[in-house]
Symmetry: D2
Subunit: 387 residues, 4 copies
Amino acid sequence: MPQDTLNVALIGYKFMGKAHSQAWLKVGKFFDLDAQPVMKVVCGRDGAAVGEFAERWGWENSSDNWQEAIASDDVDLVDISTPGASHCEMALAAAAASKHVFCEKPLANSLEESKQMLAAVRKAGVKHMVNFSYRRCPAISLAKQMIDAGEIGEIRHVRCTYLQDWLVDPDFPMNWRMRAESAGSGAHGDLGAHSIDMARYLAGEIDEVVGTKKTFITERPAEGTSDGLTATAGEGTEKVTVDDASLFLAKFAGGALGSFEATRLAPGRKNHNRIEINGSKGSLVWCFESLNELEFYSTSDPGTQQGFRKILATEGDHPYAGSWWPPGHMLGYDHTFTNVVYDLTQCIASGKDCSPDFQDGAQCSAVLEAVNDSEKSGSWAKVEQIA
Amino acid sequence: MPQDTLNVALIGYKFMGKAHSQAWLKVGKFFDLDAQPVMKVVCGRDGAAVGEFAERWGWENSSDNWQEAIASDDVDLVDISTPGASHCEMALAAAAASKHVFCEKPLANSLEESKQMLAAVRKAGVKHMVNFSYRRCPAISLAKQMIDAGEIGEIRHVRCTYLQDWLVDPDFPMNWRMRAESAGSGAHGDLGAHSIDMARYLAGEIDEVVGTKKTFITERPAEGTSDGLTATAGEGTEKVTVDDASLFLAKFAGGALGSFEATRLAPGRKNHNRIEINGSKGSLVWCFESLNELEFYSTSDPGTQQGFRKILATEGDHPYAGSWWPPGHMLGYDHTFTNVVYDLTQCIASGKDCSPDFQDGAQCSAVLEAVNDSEKSGSWAKVEQIA
Amino acid sequence: MPQDTLNVALIGYKFMGKAHSQAWLKVGKFFDLDAQPVMKVVCGRDGAAVGEFAERWGWENSSDNWQEAIASDDVDLVDISTPGASHCEMALAAAAASKHVFCEKPLANSLEESKQMLAAVRKAGVKHMVNFSYRRCPAISLAKQMIDAGEIGEIRHVRCTYLQDWLVDPDFPMNWRMRAESAGSGAHGDLGAHSIDMARYLAGEIDEVVGTKKTFITERPAEGTSDGLTATAGEGTEKVTVDDASLFLAKFAGGALGSFEATRLAPGRKNHNRIEINGSKGSLVWCFESLNELEFYSTSDPGTQQGFRKILATEGDHPYAGSWWPPGHMLGYDHTFTNVVYDLTQCIASGKDCSPDFQDGAQCSAVLEAVNDSEKSGSWAKVEQIA
Amino acid sequence: MPQDTLNVALIGYKFMGKAHSQAWLKVGKFFDLDAQPVMKVVCGRDGAAVGEFAERWGWENSSDNWQEAIASDDVDLVDISTPGASHCEMALAAAAASKHVFCEKPLANSLEESKQMLAAVRKAGVKHMVNFSYRRCPAISLAKQMIDAGEIGEIRHVRCTYLQDWLVDPDFPMNWRMRAESAGSGAHGDLGAHSIDMARYLAGEIDEVVGTKKTFITERPAEGTSDGLTATAGEGTEKVTVDDASLFLAKFAGGALGSFEATRLAPGRKNHNRIEINGSKGSLVWCFESLNELEFYSTSDPGTQQGFRKILATEGDHPYAGSWWPPGHMLGYDHTFTNVVYDLTQCIASGKDCSPDFQDGAQCSAVLEAVNDSEKSGSWAKVEQIA
C-alpha cells in the first residue's frame, strides 16, 4: 500500500534508539523520499526518561506502554530497537496490529523466535526489515554490485572477523549484554550476527559449520549506573552468562570456505568488523574501522600493475554517497543507519519488499544456532535453510 | 549576554548551507547545550529554491533578502555560508545590526576585507567565529591537547598538504570556485587556508613565507547546470582566473620550518588534508581521509618498542567523541561541523569568546596574502601579524 | 663438540638450495661467528646442473650422490633443502653418519617420518634444527621477547592466515608441490606448517583442532619446464592430489583460541603470512608482506593515547638487526635465512641445542596430522604431544 | 672495451664499503653477468682494520695506499665509497689511470668538484656511474617504466620528503657527517641528493629553486668511538657545521611544481625516502620504508573502481625482481646495491654508458648548489644545466 507519510513508533531509546532517531531525523533532509517519515512516538519503560528523549529528538509523543502506542491508528511502522529478548513479543504485536516492522539485529535471541516472527509478518502481509546496517555502508553496497557483476569471479574464501575490546578490562561492570536472558549470547549474536549477514549478502548461503565459543572472564563487578556510553560498577559481582568470543568455520552452498571470529577481548580493535573475500578473479577487503574504503584486487589488471586498490567509496556514483557530500568527504557510523531507513521508507512507500528482511534475520539465527549445535556435538552441524 | 535560545539566520543554501543546516539540526540532539539554537531563517538569491531548502531542512522561514532577514529582532546569530566574495558585506551588515557572526572560511577573499570584518565585529562587541571546521575533528583537538601537554616537545617541522583531484578532468566545467571575482583564489584560499589555520592552531604563528602558484588548466568548458554535487557544461569555454595549485615554505615564529601545498590536480587524492608535525620529542600525523585516526610517535616509549601509534580518536574521553557513539563507531565529515556549532553555541550562551575567531581568520588571510606577495617578488615575504 | 669450522653439505639446489646457499655465503660476513662455515659440497640428482650451481655459488664440490657426499669425513653438517618426501631418508642417513642436520620445513610429509627423524638425531647425539625461518624475522623475534616479558599478558586469541595466489590461474602447470607423493599436502603442509610453528613459538602448544581442506582446481596442465621461478606447461593434464586450502580452529593448552587458514588461491596475497595475537594486556600483529614491522597495542599506554604502534624492527638493539644495517634500512626475505644459519652455526660451535629443533618439527607435523584426522572424523581431534 | 672479468678496487670499508662489498659478493650469484667481478683490493687509511675487512669480505688484497692500489694494472674499476670530501681527488686519480669509476653519492661536496670529475672521466673515456641506489629499487624502476609509457600522463606535481630521526637525541655525538669539511652539508647533500636524483629520474630537469636550511641542534658531544652503527661520545662538545634540515620548492623544465624536504630530526621516520608524483592521468607514490610497494592511481580505471593500487613489485616480470625470489618474497636495502652493480657490470662488459652517470651526479650537485644560492639571496635561483 504505497503512501505519502510514514508514521513511525520507536521502541527503545538507548544506544540503538539514538541511532535510529538520528536516522529518522535526517533521512528526509538528505534523500528524496516517496513518503515522509513522521516521528510519531517513542516508547520505553521509564516514562520520564523516554519523555525527555522524545523532546530532545523531536518525537511527537512518548509512551511507557509500547503495546498501546504501537496499536494506535496513526502508526504505520514499528521500529524495534530494544535488546533481542523483547524483539519477538514486540514484532508479533506489531504484525497483529498490521504494522510494518523494522527490527534491530539479531532478529531474536533464538531461531525459534525468529521463525515465529517471520511467520507473523508474512501472515499479516506487512513489510519487514532487519537492521543489518553494515550492508548500507557505501563500500559494502559497492562490493555487492561488483560481486554481482562478476568482478571477482567465483567465490572461494570468506574471512570474517569482528573484533572489539570493550570487555578486556575485567573491572568493566555487568550489563544486559553479558546476561544470557537478555542478550541470548555475547559476541556470537552481537557481532557474529553482523558477519554472518554480510557473508550471506556477499557470498551466499552457509551449509555447514563447526565452531566453539568461550567466556574468558567469567565474573564481573555488578552493574551500577550507565548513561549508555560509560558505566560505573555497583557492589559485588555477577556471573557472566554469555560468551566473550565465538569462532567457527563454514562451508558455503556455492563451494566457498569461510572462517568467522567474533570477540570482545581483542585489545586495540575497537569496531573491527572486517571481511575479505577471495574469488577466482579477484579479491575484496573491507573493515569498518576504515568504512569508506573498499580494497579490490583484480587479476584483470595489467600483469605488472596488479595490486590491491583502495577505493574511497565517496564518489557521486557510489551507492548512497551522492546523497551526502562531495567525493572524499567521509561518512561515519550513523550515516549507514540513515541509508537503511531511506531504503526502508522507499520500499514501504512503493510497496516493494525490503531487504534484508525477517527471512534474512531468521537465516542468520539459523547459522548462529548451528554453531551452538556444533559446539555441543563437537562436530560439523548442518545449517537449517529457512524457506 | 548569556541566553537560552539562539536564533540563527543562515545565508547560503548550497554545499555549505547544507553542511551548516545539518549541524544546527543535530547539535541539540547530541550535545547538552546552554542555549537552544532555533533555525529561524535561511536566505538566498533564488526565492523559490531557498524556500524549498527551508522546508526540507526545517528552517522556520526563508528569504531572498538577506539584508532584511538578518536585521530582524528575532535573529541572534548570522551564519554566513556563501562564497568568500560576499562575506565582508554580510559580516559588516550583521555586526552593524549587533548580531553575532559565524562565517565560513576563508574569512574573506582579501586581507583588507578580513581586517574590516575583524574591526567591525570588535566594534560591535558581538561574538565572532570562522568555520575552520577541521580543528574540531576529535583527532585534531586531541593533537592540540597533546602538543599543549608537551608530548612532542618543541616543534621543528610542519608539513601540510591538502590535495584534491576534482579538477583533473579538463572537461570539468567552470563554476564560481574557478573565478577570481567570486573565489578570490583557487586551491590557495580554498584548501591552503585550512592548512594554514591548522598549522597556526597546532604550531603557532608564521613569520615569513616564500611560494608560488600555478594554473595548469587555463580554460574550461563554460558553466552549465549543477545541483551542487555534479555539474554539466554549458556552451563555449571560459578562462580560469584562479590557481590550480599553491606551494610555499614557511618560517614559524617559534623556530619551526614548514612546507605547504594545496592542489586540485592530484589524481586519487579526494580530500587529502594532511599534516605532519615533528617535534623534539615526538611526531603527530593526521589526514582527513582517515579523519578518526591520529598517528603519534613518542621518543619516550621504551627503546625497542617505539613506533607510530595509530590512535582511534573515538573514545569517550577524546574531544567531542563522547557525545556521539561508543568507541570505534566512526565519525565523518559532517560531525565536525556539528562540533563547531556546539562550541559556538556554548560560547555565545556563556558569553565567552569563540575560537577560531575573526582574528584567526584575518591572520590566515595575512599568510595567504604574504604568499601572493612572495610570488610577485620572487623572494621571502614577511607575514603581517594581526593584532 | 665445539669447533672452529663447520663444513656444510647441502642437498638440493633449486629455490631452497639457493636460499640456503646465500645464507652460508653471507653469514660470516655480517655476523661474528664462533665457527666459520665452509661451503663444502652441494648435492643434486642432475650432476651437470648441480655442478654449475656449485660453481656459481662457491661450493667447493658438487655431487650427484648425496649418500656418499654426506658420509664424507670432511662434512660436519647436512643441510637438507629438498622436497619433504626425501627428508626422512636423508636425515636418517645423516644421523647414522653422525652429522648435524639442518632440515627444511616441513620436517617430513608425515608425523610418522618426523618421529623417526627425531629419534634418529637424538640417538646419534647430533645437533638438529628445522628451518622455520620466519622465527628469525627481527620483528617476530622481538614479538617473542615482548610476549615473554609479559607485554601483552595472558594470550587469548591467535589468528593466523598464510595466503598466496600463485595457483589462482588454472593454467598454471603441475609441479612437485601439487603432488601428494612428493609434497605430502598442499597449502596445509607448505604454508600451514609455518603458521603452526609461529603460533607454537609465540603462544604455546595446541591441544585440539577441527578443520577441513579443499582442492578447488582439481586438474592442471601437465608439468613442462621450469627454472625454479617461472614454469611452462607440458602436454595434457594431470590430477592435483594435494589441497589448495586448509582451515582449522585450535584450542591451545594455555587456554587461547586460534584460527588458521592457508591457501594458494587468494588473489593479491603474494606471501601474506600474518599472525595476530590478542592478550589480556595488549595485542601484536605481523605480516610477512611488511616483514620489518611489528604492530603492538598496549593497554598500559595512557588512556587517550592508546593505539596500534608500528615498530620498525630495524634498530641496533632489535634482534639480528644490529648485524645488518642502520635503522630504517629494510631487511628482506633472504636475511631471515642468514639469521637462521647464524644461530645454527653458533649453537653447533658452542655445543648448545638448536631451536626450533626436530621436536618442534615433529610437533608441527602432529598438528598438521590432527587436522587431517579431524577432517576424516568431522569433529575435533586431539593433537599428539611429542615428548 | 667489452671484457670478461671486472677487477674491482674498493676505497672505503665502513657503512658504504660494507654495502658495496656485499653487492660485489652477491651479484654474480643472482644475476647472469657478461663479466665476472673480481674483488681485487679494498683500500683504507687504517691498514690493520682494512686488512681484517678484506679477509672477512673476501677481497683478495687490502691496502692503506689507495693511490697505489688503484693504479695497479690488474684494476679495471675504482669503487669510491668514502665520504664526499675525498671523491674528487680519487675520481680524478682513477680517471688519470684510465680506470672506470663508480662513485657513491653525492658525487662531490660541491658543484665545482663535480664538474671537474665529470670532465675527467669524459676526457679519460672511461665508464662512470654514481650510486643513486634508490633508482634500482624494483618499485622505482617500475615507476620509471610506467611514466615513460604515459601511464600517469603529463607530470604536474612532485613531492619529495626524505626524513630520518637519528639526530633527534641532542646527546648523539659528532661524526664526519656533521662537519662541513668532510660532508659538505648535512641532510641537504646526504638525503636531499637522493630525492633530487629520483625526481630528475622520474620527472625531468629542475629549472629553478627556492629554499632554506637550518641547524636546530648547533652543538653536540665530541666524537668518541664508533663501530659504524653505534657511537659513544668523547669528552667536551663540538659545533655542528652542517644543516639538520633542508627544504626547497622547485619548478621543473617540463612545467611541474615540486617540493623537497630532507631532515634528520623527524622522530619516527627512520629512512622515510618518499616521493609522490601527480600527473594528468594518474599518480605514483613510493616510500623506502615499504620499498617493495608502488602505489598507483589511474584515471583510466573504471569510474567507480578507481583507487590507489598497491603494487608489490616482486613479480618475475618486475625489474630485477625475477633474479631474486618468487613473488611476495620481499627485498631489502642491500638488494638495491646489488642491482646497481649488476647494471654497472653489464654496461662495462658491453661497452654501454652507465646511468646515472657523473653528469647526473653533477646535475644533482647543481640543484643542491642552487638551493644554497637561493638561501643566500632569499629568492628563487636558477639551476645551472650541466651539458
